[in-house]
Symmetry: C2
Subunit: 269 residues, 2 copies
């Protein structure tokens, strides 16, 4: 791991739920030496990727990110194209909706949207989505590039007791996604959440990412699932259109079949 990579990974520890991190705290989180961490934070600071709050000496994400994100959006304005569809999806289902973006072998969270409909809701606070344990990740494995599966099996971390931890388990899950057209995360990432995802495609015609709904497991019923699936399809079409792609006919057919005989499809898993 290059030292540049090490420095950059520090950034991923910032999140909306933990926006400010002190030096010692960062050392503990990253599991690295204080001097090293300090130098890395300094490097990040000179580049404007973090800034130090003078009062508390804590670090937080810096303004240079706004710059670069702006350039990225101006060049590849995918986030804009997803926002409206996600809002509609969250509103229609009453659950948290989010979109993910595959870049290389990594699935990044792009944008998420909570619904105010319930007081309890799933909160998306991730930068990178594990491929083997989330509905979006399984979608990527099912419809993304084939080599993705090879990288996924190298890290089958068990997030819950439902996480697939063997290559065989994972392959059955992926096969199920290929049959139904829906990625399912049945408490496989967090014990309280139930995820459903569908793939989206970009102008190259390839798999580009996924759009998903994370529901609270305790209120997840067959009716809700059916409703979420319908809305997911609408959102996937919308986002795919915005990104200049089209849903492959094969997948549209899967969705139709899957919605018409849900029980038969579920029995295949």
């Amino acid at each position: 791991m290059s030292s540049a990579t090490k420095a950059l990974t520090l950034l991923s520890y910032f999140s909306t739920s933990r926006p400010e991190i002190g030096l010692s705290q960062m050392c503990r989180i990253a599991g690295r030496d204080k001097a090293t961490t300090y130098r890395h934070l300094q490097a990040l600071e000179t580049a404007g990727f973090v800034e130090q709050i003078p009062a508390t000496k804590q670090y937080r994400l810096g303004p240079a990110l706004l710059q670069l994100a702006q350039v990225r959006e101006a060049t590849v304005p995918r986030k804009d194209g997803a926002k409206a569809a996600l809002a509609a999806l969250a509103d229609a289902t009453g659950e948290t909706a989010h979109a993910t973006l595959l870049s290389g072998n990594v699935l990044y969270g792009l944008c998420d949207c909570e619904s105010p409909h319930h007081s309890t809701r799933a909160v998306i606070d991730m930068n990178v989505f594990p491929l083997h344990a989330t509905a979006s990740g399984l979608c990527s494995l099912a419809f993304g590039p084939e080599e993705l599966l090879r990288t996924a099996v190298t890290n089958l971390e068990a997030f819950t007791e439902n996480t697939a931890t063997t290559e065989a388990e994972l392959e059955t899950l992926v096969e199920d996604v290929r049959l139904t057209g829906f990625g399912r995360g049945d408490k496989s990432f967090a014990t309280e959440t139930q995820g459903l995802a569908v793939p989206v495609f970009d102008h190259t015609g390839h798999f580009a990412g996924a759009v998903a709904v994370a529901s609270v497991a305790s209120r997840f019923t067959a009716e809700l699932e059916c409703s979420i699936k319908s809305e997911l399809i609408i959102a996937a079409r919308e986002i795919t259109r915005n990104w200049g792609g089209t849903i492959p006919d094969a997948i549209e057919a899967l969705w139709t079949a899957s919605l018409n005989n849900p029980t038969e499809m579920e029995s295949t898993s």
Copy 2:
């Protein structure tokens, strides 16, 4: 310069006008070795800060930036607070408006807004604003931390023949800003543009950045200048309020005086 810093600086070469950069091109721009640049780009890629377009092998900014910028915005939503005011400013003046943010010793562009009023207009395409050559930069030197001037004089690059290139020249310019409350960039950064800027303040009560209007030199008249100044003051008050700060009374007084006897003030420069 740490290798992390070196890798991070590569990111700053991306801009809306140059969103995709190949390996060799990046080497030339950065003036560094090919192998080194390649490794740096790889590190950036694994961190999601750049991604490689499979078709052309060129690199462009990656999706991880969107993540982090989102967190930054959620934590310190300054851009949102400036957007509306900038739009109003651009609309009222018919010129390009922008806001800058001081972090450490560097003045970053935060957000800009072009007015559709004229067919020719100033285009803001900078990540970092030179302190000695822009209206916003002079504002920072005049009202920001004192040590800023020391770092500014270490790089007095001449962008045009009007750029201040000696410490003495720069100090007269800064002194003028301190007397009038307005930063002026009289074709000091580009030969065709005329900038006017005022400082904005954040919740700490310190100088936080500047809001500015960049006009096309050929249509810059005394009337336009007066109009821009009035609108700038309105925008500065608005943005400062949004950032939780207040305009120091001393600066409000400068503006009032400067607007009442513009000729007398100009004679001091």
